[in-house]
């Protein structure tokens, strides 16, 4: 029996769904392997049960919490699709500021119509089975996760630093260039193939932190290369402010 699959969007740029839709050639294969795909705004009512729900976006409104819980009840497997859903992504930057103030700044007088709350990854609301972590997701990781689900195996989800993949690519480390780049590769979960460092810029940590990341040393390294301590801390929290580990970044 083909699994029934749905895609749902919360607070995000919808770039991750776009990545999936862009997989033209592969999409035919995928479409052959699954029963039904709905791409929908998550605020619409959930009309049926799903075997796999791909959830994009972070949770940043009270009303989204209710919808997400409902969706969890109706889906066998929930996959966080992209950094917003997996770790909160840049949406969570606002958590570091007073939210009333944020609202007034952004929406002016209309602020009172928004039920906004601290942005959070979906696993702070419901159980999440699997993660696609990159911002935006890569087609390769989507294909790998998708085939894993069809085979009923736990997908490959590296729990080591981006530096590992960066060494495999044999890049010159941005810290050796002294070009004012401050790479977060040593504390960020690999799986992107060290995409950013391979193109000469530094890792900004979109895939979230690996387990047992050494934040003290990371901040020290950034300082040693000329970044103010406070800026280093802010940078480490740019994509990951909503993660519990962010508390350890000081």
């Amino acid at each position: 029996m083909k699994p029934k699959v749905g895609f749902f969007s919360f607070t995000s740029c919808e770039g991750c769904q776009l990545q999936v839709l862009n997989m033209e050639e592969q999409l035919l294969d995928i479409a052959g392997a699954i029963d039904l795909v709905t791409f929908r705004e998550a605020m619409d009512p959930i009309d049926s049960d799903y075997d796999i729900a791909f959830v994009e976006g972070s949770i940043s409104r009270e009303s989204e919490i209710t919808v997400l819980r409902e969706m969890r009840r109706k889906a066998d497997v929930v996959v966080a699709l992209g950094a917003c859903a997996a770790s909160g992504c840049v949406n969570a930057i606002k958590n570091r500021f007073d939210s009333e103030e944020n609202l007034r700044e952004v929406y002016g007088d209309a602020a009172r119509y928004y039920d906004t709350i601290d942005a959070r990854p979906i696993d702070q609301v419901v159980n999440v089975d699997f993660y696609l972590r990159t911002c935006p997701i890569t087609r390769e990781e989507f294909a790998r996760l998708f085939t894993s689900l069809l085979l009923a195996r736990r997908p490959y989800d590296p729990n080591f630093a981006v530096c590992v993949e960066c060494r495999m690519e044999e890049n010159v480390c941005v810290y050796d260039m002294d070009a004012g780049e401050f790479c977060m590769g040593p504390v960020t979960r690999a799986g992107c193939g060290a995409l950013c460092p391979t193109y000469g810029s530094s890792c900004i940590g979109c895939r979230g932190f690996m387990d047992q990341a050494n934040f003290d040393s990371m901040v020290q390294v950034m300082q040693d290369h000329g970044m103010a301590r406070e800026d280093a801390v802010n940078r480490l929290k740019m994509f990951n402010a909503a993660l519990p580990e962010a508390e350890e970044v000081k």
């Binding site: 085979l151 530096c163 060494r167 002294d178 040593p186 387990d211």
Partner: protein, 359 residues
């Protein structure tokens, strides 16, 4: 020991140019920022690059690539490979003839050592398909490549074996040592002359100068090379591991860039149709968190300090017990790549000192 032949640099360069027409010739090439990588070259000019430090990745990448398919598999009837259908599995080995030019003595030593590990009990055919097709043309360092290299302390700044040809700069010429039949055959194609008494006298002078130049490198490690296995072996609870483990990022860079690290992970990938796929191996390292994780989520080395110690333990105690040698060449790649400056010689010296050794 002085080589047996002298060839002109010009003739040698022409030979390399000719070789490059028929097979891959690779040599350390500048990547900017004072960093180097083995890349394809067309001639021997890279042999005279100034200020060369060991390449980012060592030559092991040609024998044990960062990622490699070991097995290709498919079902016969489009069924899923994990459905219990019969799966056809075939080995895959990609190999080509390759000349490695300008391999420093530290890396020659490392290649000899990883050969040993990869033929121990079970010969790894994928590794040797490439290794056996490789021609190693080494290059003697006249001085340490930088102030961090501790090759002389590890006895890796001179090698007697493990190359096809070994070159030493001789002005307009190279002095060439022949290390194998393949090397001999290569040299046959070149105009060369035997070394003379004059050469020998000059060689003695050169060796004296080299010894002087390498003295600081030799002094980097206080205890004797042969004392390292016991030193690390008996150090389980040393504060050295705690201090360095606190600093360590657990990033694995030092493993990946090390010429004598050869551990790998294995993962399967399948096609979207699920009826075929590949089993791949890719570089792995013992400083990474999940290296020793087993079922039931038991991790035999869950702390960074334990993993750091394991790395040094493997390079000293384990390899010494198994192969009678410390598997480290002192190339200092691990130090240059380490963002928190963890330096093996410092750890050895600290262990030694805390045992009450002289420093």
């Amino acid at each position: 020991m002085i080589g047996s032949k002298v060839v002109s640099k010009r003739a040698f360069d022409e030979m390399i140019q000719a070789l490059a027409e028929t097979s891959d010739v690779v040599a350390p090439v500048s990547r900017g920022y004072d960093r180097f990588s083995y890349r394809e070259v067309k001639d021997a000019s890279t042999l005279e690059v100034d200020g060369y430090i060991p390449t980012l990745n060592p030559p092991k990448k040609y024998f044990l690539p960062p990622e490699e398919v070991l097995v290709e598999f498919a079902t016969e009837d489009e069924a899923s490979v994990a459905s219990g259908a019969r799966v056809r599995a075939e080995p895959r080995i990609d190999a080509c003839a390759r000349v490695l030019l300008g391999v420093r003595t530290c890396d020659l030593k490392a290649i000899r050592q990883s050969d040993e590990a990869y033929k121990d009990t079970f010969e790894d055919d994928n590794y040797f398909a490439r290794r056996n097709r490789a021609t190693l043309i080494g290059l003697t360092c006249l001085e340490p490549c930088d102030e961090h290299a501790f090759c002389a302390a590890m006895g890796a700044n001179d090698v007697e074996e493990g190359f096809d040809l070994l070159l030493t700069d001789w002005g307009d010429d190279w002095i060439v040592s022949v290390g194998s039949e393949r090397g001999d055959d290569l040299l046959e194609t070149l105009q060369s002359r035997a070394v003379t008494e004059d050469d020998r006298a000059r060689w003695e002078v050169l060796q004296g100068k080299r010894e002087e130049a390498f003295a600081p490198s030799a002094e980097k490690i206080v205890p004797d090379l042969d004392a390292l296995p016991d030193l690390v072996g008996d150090s389980e609870d040393s504060a050295v591991w705690i201090e360095n483990g606190d600093l360590c990022l657990g990033c694995g860079r030092c493993n990946l860039v090390c010429p004598t690290c050869f551990c790998f992970d294995v993962q399967d990938d399948v096609s979207l149709g699920l009826s075929s796929g590949e089993r791949k191996r890719r570089w792995d390292g013992c400083t990474l968190l999940e290296f020793a994780l087993v079922a039931g989520d038991e991790n035999f080395r869950s702390d960074r300090k334990d993993r750091l110690r394991h790395k040094l333990y493997h390079k000293t105690r384990s390899t010494f017990d198994r192969y009678g040698e410390v598997f480290c060449t002192g190339c200092a790649r691990c130090f240059r790549t380490c963002l928190v400056d963890i330096y093996h010689p410092e750890m050895y010296n600290a262990l030694h000192e805390r045992l009450g050794g002289e420093s």
